[in-house]
Amino acid sequence: MSGQTTTLAKAITMGLRAAMERDSKVVLMGEDIGKLGGVFRVTDGLQKDFGEDRVIDTPLSESGILGTAIGMALRGYRPVCEIQFDGFVFPAFDQIVCQLAKMHARSKGHSRLPIVVRIPFGGGIGAVEHHSESPEAYFAHTAGLRVVACSNPVDAYWMIQQAVASDDPVIFFEPKRRYWEKAELDTSAGPPAEALDQARVVREGADITVAAYGPMVKVCMDAASAAAEDGTSIEVLDLRSLSPLDMDTVVASVRRTHRLVVVHEAPVTLGMGAEIAAQVTESCFHHLEAPVLRVGGFDTPYPPSRIEEEYLPDLDRVLDAVDRSLAY
């Protein structure tokens, strides 16, 4: 199978399918993932093809999903858990923070938990409360987890497979409002040059670096195109991995451009931007022409969807930050 136009959602389906074909220990668990194929249809057709033992419609309990996934992993399985929406990961938080993240260290390396927790995240789809959250910082603050976010179909296809192949637990964020965006996916072309824990320069630029991940990469690319027309050359980074952060790539870029804006949907306070700002300032203190600026959600609950456009960083807010940085 080579080049075909594929949505991000479908690319994950294909990635899961490939992972399941490769390794019979890969099992999927989640609410409504079987017959329905998931509320976003990401697991569509997989139960039909791999059976109910490998694609498990679970009881409605997220702690149960994570807790039993851990048990299955201890028995040698590689569970891929789907959390139906970002806001519903919290009942599982204890199992993730106290068990999933720590058991490998607790056991001095005896026990491995190669579990992937798939979380459709972020806003912009006009949903009700708890369906538009960006909880990635909670996980990135938790040692023992890997946290990644894909931003496009090609990465989605490969990153989900790399996540399943990882012997560490991976929290896998899927940009739900990009599920339906398409790209050419040539599965025979092999995985991208970057490893799962590496960032990528998705657009080169000279004047300023803008770093984003997941759904905001597109916003930043659009901002870069718009800025180019005004003569500003923005370098755009897709961070891809949030824990570990690939600071080598970020720092190398900032050493070139001397300016950095970090963009995410999550609230600014203690969001990923905080960590990146702190590290970049330390690594590039004498290179920075302006402080690292952050564009993110406000420190409020995610608002009703009729005003989510104002809550979410958009092209204008990114460019506003770019201008502020350049004005230093």
Partner: protein, 372 residues
């Protein structure tokens, strides 16, 4: 699959055919007017639901969670409540909201995306909708513990005593929170009624994904009574809820009510049930429609005549108009409202964010009015 509602454990007072039946433990004693009142409730909440569904199709609501098929469970339980009983609903209790005097328009805000719940929970003794499955059951128990401490439990009757009523679905019974709520309620003998609408489905998952045995039996493991009532029978639901509320208010602790019913529509307007359930199942449940049976009964017994039904139809049309017009009129909130009520007390960093954002929005005003 779905257990036959004819089984002995099911409390029923009005059959699908509209015949009254006796039950050793439960009875109701309604005047004709009250019976017509119940019918009116059922018909009007179905109309509200239909109107909201239509509004969603027309793009006026982002999503809608239909109560179609569950009207009797909601009206029966909602009408059984006294003034101090306090409801903790899920996102589907539009019928209960109706009973508590919430203007249906206020329900739409959440689904339209203009707010997270547009009514005052205290005014109506009807808490905001809770979307995180099961979380509200613990709130109900805590509220009930507050009632205990307020001296609102004992033999003062519904005017002087009160109970909390937690609504939740069959799927919710798998959440840790719901089971913890059972434990707390039992340990503290809290005046709470657990009202589970078993509509047979949790989105695409059938009941068997949540339990091997009838749900109402869950309560026995926690040490309080569970009862299965025909949730499509408004009379039985009323009687069973009234008894459970009386028990709670007088200090005898919680009751679990499994209202055995069926989700006739999709989970929400975003759902496609044809992917996971067969039409025959839906057809079978149509025969047990909660409204039809009361209609048959009222007509056959002459408790309501054609004029009355026509007048109701007219009222229903007016209500639909109110909802439609009100919905279309519902203004989008100002973006600045997202900063409101995050905290009660002043919060400087957020005030700063608010100010900066206001200035940022203002910077566009010269060129555009879109953010005004």
């Amino acid at each position: 699959m779905a257990l036959a509602p004819e089984e002995p454990e099911l409390v029923q007072l009005l059959t699908p055919e509209g015949e009254l039946v006796e039950h050793p433990d439960y009875r109701v004693d309604f005047s004709d007017e009250e019976l017509r009142g119940l019918y009116r409730d059922l018909a009007l909440v179905r109309r509200i639901d239909a109107e909201a569904t239509a509004l969603q199709r027309q793009g006026e609501l982002g999503i809608w969670a239909s109560l179609l098929g569950q009207e009797a469970a909601q009206i029966g339980s909602g009408r059984a409540m006294g003034p101090n009983d306090h409801v903790f609903p899920t996102y589907r209790e539009h019928g209960v909201a109706w009973c508590r005097g919430v203007d249906p328009l206020n329900l739409l805000g959440l689904f339209r995306g203009v707010d997270m719940g547009g009514w005052d929970p205290e005014e109506h003794h009807f808490h905001l909708y809770t979307i995180v499955i099961g979380a509200q059951t613990l709130h109900a128990v805590g509220y009930a513990m507050g009632l205990q401490r307020d001296g609102m439990v004992g033999d003062g009757g519904p005017e002087l005593t009160g109970a909390a009523v937690a609504y939740f679905g069959d799927g919710a019974t798998s959440q840790g929170d719901v089971n913890e709520a059972f434990i707390w309620a039992s340990v503290f003998q809290a005046p709470v009624v657990f009202f589970c609408q078993n509509n047979q489905w949790a989105i695409s998952e059938p009941l068997e994904r949540q339990t091997r045995i009838p749900l109402y039996q869950r309560a026995s493991g926690f040490g309080f009574p569970g009862v299965r009532v025909d949730g499509n029978d408004v009379l039985a639901t009323y009687a069973v809820t009234q008894a459970a509320l009386a028990r709670a208010r007088e200090g005898s602790g919680p009751t679990f009510i499994e209202a055995y019913t069926y989700r006739m529509g999709a989970h929400t307007t975003s759902d496609d049930p044809t992917r996971y359930r067969i039409a025959a199942e839906v057809e079978a449940w149509k025969l047990k429609d909660p409204i039809e049976r009361l209609r048959s009964f009222l007509i056959r017994t002459g408790k309501a005549d054609q004029d009355w039904f026509e007048a109701l139809e007219e009222e229903s049309n007016q209500l639909a108009k109110h909802i439609r017009a009100g919905c279309l009129d519902m203004p989008d909130p100002s973006p600045m409202t997202m900063f409101d009520h995050v905290y009660v007390d002043p919060h400087k960093p957020l005030a700063n964010q608010r100010e900066q954002f206001a200035a940022y929005l203002a910077s566009f005003e010269s060129t555009s009015e879109e953010h005004s």
